[in-house]
Symmetry: C2
Subunit: 190 residues, 2 copies
DNA sequence: CATAAAGTAGACAAATCGTTCTACCAACGG
DNA sequence: CCGTTGGTAGAACGATTTGTCTACTTTATG
C-alpha cells in the first residue's frame, strides 16, 4: 500500500474533523499506523503535508462536483444538479467525501488567515476552480452577465455550506437551490 | 482600567487575526501587558476566555448591524443597509470591528467542529440573532414567506463574508446586495 | 494607619508540539 | 551474497503549550 497516500487520507480526515492546529502529527501517525520517519521522508514538514491534503481534496471534490453536473443536460439542469449534490453532501449521502464538517478550504482559511500563505492560496485556487466550472456551464446557456451569475451562484453555495455547518441546517442546499432556480429563470433570455 | 476587558479585547484581536489554537495565552498576556495570574483569576481556562470573547464580539456586532439598519427607513431599505454595512466592513471602513478577517463565528466553528461544544453553540446563537434581526424587519414589510426570505438573505450574507475572506473579493457585499434587491423585489406583494 | 484585595513578574510543572535521530529489519537487484 | 533502499519503533531534542505557584507590590477601604 502507498504510505504517502495513506498519510494524506488520514491527515485529511483528522484535519477536516478537528481542525489543523488541533491535530498533532503523532495522532496522524498513530491512526495511520505509520512511522514518524516515513512521514518526514515524504513531506518535509506538517505544512507540506497539509498542502498535499488540500491538493488531494481539491482533486476529489472538483471531480465529484463536475461529474454530478455532467450527469444532467448541459445548462440550467447541470447547475441545479450542483445544489442537489450539495444536499447529498450535507446529509452524508456521499461516501467519497467523508462525513460533512463544512468546507475544508473555508476551514483552512480560518486557520491560515494570511492570504499570502501557501495554504490560503491553495484554498483560493480551489474556489476559483469551482467558480470556473459554474461559469463554463453558464456560457453554454443563453444568459447575459455570466460573470455576475457565476459569482452569485458560488456565493450562494458558500452560504449554504456555512449555514449547514454552523446552524446544522440540513435543508440549506434545498433552500439555496430554490433561489438559484429563480436567479437562473430571471436571467435566461430565451 | 478594567483588566478583564483588556484581556477580552486583546484575545479577540489575536484570535480573529491568527485563529484560536494558533495563539497562546502567553502571547495574549504579552500584548495586553497583564500577568498570567490575573488572567486565571478572571477566567478559569483559555476556553472560558474564548467564550467571553465570543459574547463580546456578538454584542458589538449585533449592535453595529442593527444600528446601521435602523438608520434607514424600516423595510427594504433597512435590509439593503445591512449589505452596505457589510461592504464597509469588508473594506475596513468600520473602526469598531477591527480589520476584516472573515467572521469570527465561522472561523471559530472551523476550529470547534463539534456542534455540542460551547464555542460552537455560542456561534450558532450569534447567527440566530442576526437571522432574527432580518426576519423582524421582513415582518414589517408586505411579503410572504418571511422565514424563507430571512434564510436566503442571511445565507447570502454568509456567502459574501466567505467570498470576501477566501477570495479577497472586496466587492462581494455589493454583488450580494444586488441579488438581495432582486429577491426582495420579486417577493414584495404590494 | 492597617488590612485585604488585586495586581505584578516570572519560575515552574507536566504535557505536547514538530522535528531529528539512532538502531534495526525486510525486500530486492546486481 | 551483499549493499541499497525503504520501511519499522521509538528515544531524544528543544521549543511551546496550558495552568499553578511563590513572592512581592500596589491600591483601595474601613
Amino acid at each position: 500500500m502507498d504510505k504517502r497516500q495513506k498519510l494524506i487520507e488520514t491527515a485529511f480526515r483528522l484535519f477536516y474533523q478537528h481542525g489543523i492546529h488541533a491535530v498533532g502529527v503523532n495522532q496522524i501517525l498513530e491512526e495511520a499506523k505509520i512511522a514518524k520517519k516515513t512521514l518526514y521522508s515524504h513531506f518535509e514538514s506538517k505544512e507540506k503535508l497539509l498542502e498535499a491534503v488540500l491538493e488531494y481534496r481539491d482533486a476529489r471534490f472538483v471531480e465529484w462536483a463536475s461529474q454530478r453536473m455532467q450527469q444532467e443536460h448541459a445548462g440550467k439542469a447541470a447547475i441545479l444538479a450542483l445544489f442537489d449534490a450539495l444536499d447529498d453532501w450535507f446529509n452524508d449521502r456521499v461516501e467519497n467525501l467523508a462525513a460533512f464538517h463544512g468546507c475544508l478550504f473555508i476551514n483552512t482559511c480560518s486557520e491560515y488567515g494570511d492570504p499570502s500563505s501557501t495554504p490560503h492560496q491553495l484554498c483560493r485556487a480551489h474556489k476559483r476552480r469551482i467558480h470556473e466550472l459554474v461559469k463554463q456551464e453558464l456560457k453554454t446557456m443563453a444568459v447575459a452577465e455570466t460573470d455576475y451569475l457565476a459569482d452569485m451562484l458560488t456565493m450562494l453555495k458558500e452560504g449554504a455550506i456555512v449555514t449547514a455547518q454552523v446552524q446544522g441546517d440540513k435543508l440549506a442546499a434545498k433552500k439555496a437551490k430554490r433561489l438559484a432556480e429563480q436567479l437562473l429563470s430571471s436571467a435566461t433570455i430565451q
